[in-house]
Symmetry: C2
Subunit: 477 residues, 2 copies
C-alpha cells in the first residue's frame, strides 16, 4: 500500500473502536499492532462491545458498521464531518513519529515538522505569569471572569505595539487563546452560506474548518480539492502569490503572510493588489499574520498597512511563534469597526457576540504573559528568540541549497519550502524519516499545490538543527 | 419604556456604530449618553463614517442602515446571527451594573449576579501554576504544543477522581478551556440539522449556540421562544424536573444538574428516567455537571452513575466553580467510546476531530493547576472553598425565607432561586439594584420559564453577603 493511500484512508485495516493510544493522536490510521489486536480481542470478549469492530478509517465517510450489538442513538452523524479527509495533518504526523520511535527506540529523532517552538520563554515573560498565578491566591490579586474580549490593557498594548498609526484601536482587538481557535470562531461568524478562497498550499485549519461549517461540497479525490472552495494556486512560477485574474469572486479570502507552509511573504505591492481585489469583489480577507515578526525586509507586517484594508479585512495573529506561547495559548483577532456586511451591519458586533457566547476569554495568566511580552524588555527578548530561529532558517536554507535543491521561503519566515520535483511529498517525508530519523512535513498535506514539496521548520535547538542538516547532507549528497 | 422592552431591544435609540465602551460589553443597548452622543457627532463630522449611524439594537435582526457612505462588502450577514435576541445575558448585566455605578459613584455595589467566583484560589494550586510558568523559561521545563485533548496525566486524573468505577477512561476525557467553550464545540460537532431540547429556564449558552449553529427557527416574540427548540418547563410544581411525558423527541437534550439557574438537583430516580427517555428516543444527552461538587446529598454527581448512560450521554464540566478557575479557564468533556451515531460511527472520533481542528489544547499552565487541584491537598482545599460558598447559600436562603418568599435551590448548588409571583424579573432586578445597590440575575434571562424569578448567586465575600442580606431585609421587610 502506498503512503498516499494510507493517508487518504484507502482500505487500511484498523480497528475503529477507539483505544486510548489511538485517540491520543486522533487519526486512528495505524496498522493493527499487537497491542491493538489485544484490545480488540479483549473488547470482543465482552458481552456488549462499545461500537463494534469494523474496517475503514475513522475520519473518512463512514461505511456501515459490520457489527453493532450495543445501543445506537438515532442522531445522524453531521454530514460535514463525514466530508473531512483522514486525520488533521499535524496529529497524523505526530502519530507517524510515534510509530517510527517504536520501530527505532534508540534513534535520536529530530523534529523539524509540526512548527512547534522549542526555545524557553524569556524569563521576563514567565516571571510575570508566575507572579499573576501566585496573586490569584490572595484576596487583593484574585480575579474571576475577565472580559470575553480580553484585558483592556492588553488590547490597548496590542493596538499600540502592532498597529501604531494604522487606525486600529483597543476596541478593535479581540484577545483569544490562539489564531487556530479564532479561525474556527470566524467560521461560526460567517456561517454555512459563504464561499471561501484559500492559498494553495495553505494551513489546513482554514479548509477543514470551512468543511466543518458546511461551506463546502464533497472532497473530489481526482483533483484533491473540496467542492465550493476556490484554491488560489501559489507556485514558484508566480512567486507564491496567486494570479488574481484567474481567481473567482468569493465571500471570504483566507490569506497568510508570511506564509505557512511556503515561507514566502507578500510584498506591499502584492497586498495592495489583494486589497483592491477584495474591494472590487466585495470580499472579506481573513489575514493570518502569525509569523509577521519574522519579517526582516520592508514587507508589510499587517494587512492594515495597506490603505483601504480596514473596510475589507480581519487580521488574526498570535503570541505562539513570537514568544514561544504554543502551549501557553494566547492570540488575537482584529476586526475593524469599518468592516461591514452587505446590509451595513458591523462585522465586529457579530464577532463580539460569538466571542461572548462561545468563548470566555483567554486565561488570565496567559494574558499577564502577553502584557509582559509587550514591555520593552519583553519585546527585546522576543526579538532575540526570533533572531535565533532565523539563524536556524539560514542553516537549513544553506544546506538544501548546497545539495542542489530549489529552496523557497526562509527569508521572512521560520519555514523552508524545498522542492522534490516529480516526487510524492509523503514518499519524501517517509524517506527522510526512515533514513535520517528527521520529521518534516509533507507539502501535499497543505493542499494539492504542495505536492512535490517538503516543509522544513526552523524551530529547534541549534544542535539538533546542525545534526539534522548533517544527516540530510549524508542522505542527499 | 418598560425594562422588558429595553431588554428585547424595542425602539431604544442607540448608536449602532461601535464605540470602545459599548464593545467592551457587547450589547450596545444603552441609552444615548452624553459621551455616545459626542462620539456620534464626532463620527458624523468625518468624511467617511465607518458604518453610518442608525437606530436599532446591535444584536437584534438588523434593520437597513439609514446612512452608509463607506465601502460595504458584499458578504451577507449570517442569518443565524440576526436571529439572536439582544445581548448575551451576562455582558448585559455587567453593562447595567456599570451604568448604575456611574449613576451612584459612591454606592457600595455588591454583585450576587453573574455567578463569578470571588475567593482566592488555594495556594497549593496557584503554586503549581507559578512553578509551571517559571519552568517554561528553562530548557528542561519548556514545552510547546500539548496534545489537543489535554495532558495525559490530567486526563487520567480527572477520570480516576470524578469517574472512578464508572467505566470512564482517560481516553474518554477531553480537557478544555471551559464548559462554555466546549458547548460551542459540541454544537459544531452536531451541526445544523439536529433539534435540541433545553430545560426552561436554562444557562443561555445552550440556546444561543444552537441559534448560531442554525439549528433553530426565528425567535417568536409572543411566546419568547425560538422555533425548533423543545423547551422543557421546569417549575416549582414539577420540582424543577420536566414532565417527560410532555417532551417531544429531539436529537440532543441539554441538561444541567445541579441546575443553573434554579439551583435544583435531579435525583437518581429522575436521572434514571431521563436516561431511559433518551434511550427510547435515540437522543444524546449533553449533561452539564459544572456544579456537581456542590452536591451534599446522595444525588448523582455524574450522569454516568446511571446505568446505560454511557451509550446516550456526553458530560461537560469545569474547574471554574470548584477551584475558582473562572479566569484561569480549565474544563473537560467526557465523550464515552460507547456513544455512537445512528450509523454506528463513534461520536468521540468526530469530537476528537473538532478538538484537533478548532482548538489547540488548554493552556499548559492552567493544566498544571488542574493537576494540583486533583492532588489530595488540592481536593481538600477546593472542598473548603465550596463549603464556604455553601455557607453563603444558607445565609441567603434564610434571608429570603424569613422575608416570606418562596425560595428554591441552594441546597446542592451555589444558586438561590427566589419567586416574585406576578412580577417581571427585570423589574425586580431593577428594583433591587436601584434600592439596595445589589446586582442579581433576572430569571427571564434564562428563558420564559424563569419569568417571575430572580437568581441570587452565593459567590461573594462573607461580609458582602451579610451586608447584601441586611439590605434585602430592609427593602422587603
Amino acid at each position: 500500500m502506498s503512503l498516499m493511500a494510507a493517508v487518504q484512508g484507502v482500505s487500511t485495516p484498523v480497528t475503529s473502536t477507539r483505544s486510548p493510544a489511538s485517540l491520543g493522536h486522533g487519526a486512528g490510521l495505524r496498522p493493527a499492532s499487537p497491542s491493538s489486536l489485544f484490545l480488540r480481542a479483549r473488547r470482543a470478549a465482552k458481552p456488549s462491545p462499545p461500537a463494534g469492530d469494523r474496517r475503514g478509517v475513522c475520519h473518512c465517510v463512514a461505511s456501515p458498521p459490520t457489527e453493532q450489538t450495543g445501543h445506537k442513538t438515532k442522531v445522524s452523524r453531521n454530514a460535514n464531518m463525514g466530508k473531512l479527509q483522514a486525520g488533521y495533518l499535524f496529529p497524523e504526523i505526530a502519530r507517524r513519529r510515534s510509530a517510527h520511535m517504536l520501530k527505532y527506540p534508540d534513534a535520536h529523532v529530530i523534529s523539524l515538522g509540526i512548527g512547534d517552538t522549542t526555545e524557553p520563554i524569556p524569563e521576563v515573560i514567565t516571571s510575570a505569569m508566575a507572579v499573576k498565578a501566585q496573586e490569584l491566591s490572595t484576596f487583593e490579586g484574585y480575579s474571576g471572569y475577565g472580559a470575553e474580549q480580553g484585558d483592556k490593557k492588553l488590547r490597548a498594548g496590542i493596538a499600540s505595539t502592532y498597529y501604531k498609526d494604522l487606525g486600529i484601536e483597543e476596541s478593535d482587538i479581540f484577545v483569544s487563546d490562539g489564531a487556530k481557535c479564532d479561525i474556527s470562531r470566524l467560521q461560526l461568524l460567517f456561517g454555512a452560506n459563504v464561499k471561501m478562497a484559500v492559498q494553495d498550499p495553505s494551513y489546513p485549519a482554514y479548509v477543514d474548518s470551512s468543511v466543518i461549517m458546511g461551506q463546502t461540497g464533497l472532497y473530489q479525490k481526482d483533483i484533491e480539492k473540496f467542492g465550493n472552495i476556490e484554491y488560489m494556486r501559489c507556485t514558484a512560477e508566480n512567486g507564491f502569490f496567486p494570479d488574481l485574474t484567474k481567481v473567482s469572486k468569493t465571500d471570504i479570502i483566507f490569506f497568510c503572510s508570511p506564509n505557512n507552509p511556503t515561507g514566502s511573504t507578500a510584498s506591499r505591492d502584492q497586498l495592495t493588489k489583494l486589497v483592491q481585489f477584495a474591494r472590487e469583489n466585495g470580499s472579506i480577507i481573513v489575514y493570518d499574520s502569525a509569523y509577521s515578526m519574522y519579517i526582516s525586509d520592508d514587507s508589510p507586517r499587517s494587512i492594515f498597512e495597506i490603505p483601504g484594508a480596514k473596510e475589507v479585512a480581519i487580521e488574526t495573529s498570535s503570541f505562539s511563534k513570537f514568544a514561544g506561547f504554543t502551549g501557553v495559548r494566547l492570540g488575537w483577532t482584529v476586526v475593524p469597526k469599518e468592516l461591514v456586511f452587505s446590509d451595513g451591519f458591523p462585522v465586529a458586533k457579530d464577532f463580539n457576540r460569538i466571542v461572548c457566547t462561545c468563548f470566555n476569554g483567554a486565561s488570565n495568566i496567559a494574558q499577564a504573559g502577553g502584557l509582559a511580552c509587550l514591555s520593552p524588555e519583553g519585546l527585546k527578548a522576543m526579538d532575540d528568540v526570533v533572531t535565533f530561529y532565523k539563524e536556524n532558517t539560514e542553516i537549513i536554507v544553506e544546506t538544501f541549497t548546497s545539495l542542489g535543491f530549489n529552496v523557497y521561503g526562509g527569508k521572512n519566515a521560520p519555514y523552508v519550502w524545498v522542492h522534490f520535483p516529480g516526487r510524492s511529498s509523503w514518499d519524501v517525508f517517509a524517506e527522510i524519516l526512515e533514513k535520517t530519523h528527521l520529521v518534516t512535513t509533507p507539502g501535499s498535506g497543505f493542499g494539492p499545490g504542495g505536492e512535490g514539496f517538503i516543509r522544513v521548520s526552523a524551530f529547534g535547538h541549534r544542535g539538533n538543527v546542525l545534526e539534522a542538516c548533517k544527516r540530510l547532507k549524508q542522505l542527499y549528497q
